[in-house]
Point group: C2
Chain length 343, copies 2
């Protein structure tokens, strides 16, 4: 059974939504379909306050007196051995858990996971991957890196292309995922220095049947015609935040516009199911969290503002990832593709 270490403390809203999300996951597991062993890491008195009494015996609690705040430096996290995130990551490093889920300080989680759990053979830098909505129903695209690394080198994007392919084929169950390189134009030769050099490296994978579709643009992320989009973490973060920002602006404008007249108000009411569909599509909670790809284990980074539903989905993602062959496939691919981007 997959053991999931859950940082119960670090989120923006404290312990409550995390513990409640864990409870939802236990309930769902009971109703069938999957199994997992929850390990909540944090202050036991707080955890027990929020945990339904019938679940007290179903959850393992690891005491952690310290919590890394969002305002703390990621580097400090490496020294604070009593913190919930440190202890949660350590469980995976010691093979006492198979995956870690955290809605806490993402920089701290990424640094700790990279250093304590370690990188996969052939990976220089792990990358944070996130699923993005597309205009095609039920179709999501995977973007990486969305914030683990800045100032990437071509070998990092090369490795991201391989990690993205492995994730898409193993977890999104895509036959031969289409991998694109994010650029400022579709033509070969577009891009900044990093993208141009990365293009030449990734292009060579085509000889091995790797489905590299070449350069793609920011708009292509949402068309659903490419499965994996590779970029530097600075650029990916801008992409992610831009899409969040414009979505929020559109919702605000529509809400304001609904008040234009009596008829638009009625229209908005009748149209509500359609808005709900849109909300689901854009809903971060549905995604749960972003996997940190390239470490020798499983780490799912959730949003600090995660609701119980988001935590549930992050746990589900952690279970599926830990049970999958993503990591062994990454190592196999890197090996097979002659390790252009050596460690």
């Amino acid at each position: 059974m997959v053991r999931i270490a859950i940082d119960a403390m670090g989120g923006d809203f404290g312990c409550k939504p995390i513990v409640e999300g864990c409870s939802l996951a236990i309930d769902l597991a009971k109703s069938g379909g999957f199994e997992f062993e929850p390990i909540l890491v944090g202050e036991s008195t707080q955890i027990l306050t929020h945990l339904r009494s019938d679940l007290h015996k179903k959850v393992k609690i690891i005491e952690a007196a310290d919590t890394i705040a969002m305002s703390d430096h990621a580097t400090d996290a490496l020294k604070r051995r009593e913190s919930s995130i440190y202890k949660a990551v350590e469980l995976v490093a010691k093979k006492e858990a198979d995956a870690v889920v955290s809605a806490g300080h993402s920089g701290a989680t990424m640094s700790l996971a990279t250093l304590k759990i370690g990188r996969l053979k052939g990976i220089s830098r792990p990358a944070l991957a996130t699923l993005m909505p597309t205009a095609i129903e039920g179709k999501k695209s995977l973007v990486l890196d969305v914030g683990a690394n800045v100032d990437s080198e071509p070998k990092h994007l090369f490795q991201s292309a391989i990690m993205g392919k492995a994730y898409a084929s193993q977890l999104l169950k895509l036959e031969n995922p289409r991998v694109g390189l994010l650029a400022n134009g579709e033509e070969e030769g577009k891009g900044d220095k990093l993208v141009k050099e990365s293009f030449l490296m990734i292009k060579e994978l085509r000889e091995e049947g790797f489905n590299f579709v070449g350069n793609v643009e920011g708009c292509d992320v949402f068309k659903g015609e490419v499965d994996v989009i590779v970029c530097d973490g600075f650029v990916g973060n801008v992409l992610l935040k831009t899409s969040e920002g414009i979505s929020e602006a559109i919702v605000k404008v529509l809400k304001r516009a609904a008040k234009q007249s009596f008829l638009t108000t009625v229209g908005a009411l009748l149209f509500r199911p359609a808005f709900k569909t849109l909300k689901q599509m854009m809903d971060y909670d549905e995604y749960g969290g972003a996997p940190l790809l390239g470490i020798n284990g499983t780490a799912i980074i959730s949003h600090g503002k995660s609701t119980p539903k988001a935590v549930l989905n992050a746990i589900l993602q952690a279970v599926r990832f830990a049970e999958s062959n993503v990591n062994s496939e990454i190592v196999r691919y890197l090996d097979r593709y002659a390790l252009k981007g050596e460690n």
Copy 2:
């Protein structure tokens, strides 16, 4: 009277929308409020076919037999002296026109404008600026660079901060515009190498009363709480295309969702005025074009798919820009701010 050289040929839909947009501008000018002298550059037979006969005498036509296609290389444009864009830019360079408007090959237009018209004193690289919609009614934010340069150096972002301020204060009439640096987090110290170094340079302007608000994120572009957002052209292009892409995806999802049931269809009909408000907010046509800042003149780059309305707005923008003090303010600011980012 401001003389506007209009590349009549290079757009995706040929000469027709450009000439029609020019006609709209002449009509609007006649009804009062502004004046300009239109100079259409291209194949006169084609131009005259699309030009209303009552306007034939109101428009100056400069013959140009060649047209740069979207698929041509920007560098080729420098040699093709008979092309409409070459001749249109040349008119500004020779002071026979005050501004150039083109919906043609944007790379060609930018290269030609930079080389033929020349850069302002103190500017190393011109930057393409675009207005973005925000959640606040009537409020737009200016993002630059959105594609003129990649692989920027700190001095380029420093100069963009100053150019953005000049545009916002002169043309958006903002008292002391808030200028932000696009990063992957709000805290000082966030960013890639370029952003971190640029931060330190731009920060020094604060001593002079420059309203540098520090790092901003992709989502801040659409909140309306910052007026000017500075970034490298690769990143700005990703931001622009991402916002276009997600907007299109949202519209598609809402259209599909409208068909969910009879009630949602009725709701969508009643809600139509609200969608129209949204459409206007997101409508590229409303913006008309993007000014190329930092050249010793005025160049407005329009979308290849510009409608007559977009061309009209681009001409309006060109007139306002050419009549403004943006360029002299840029030179004055650069001079005053001790020219950290020297040419």
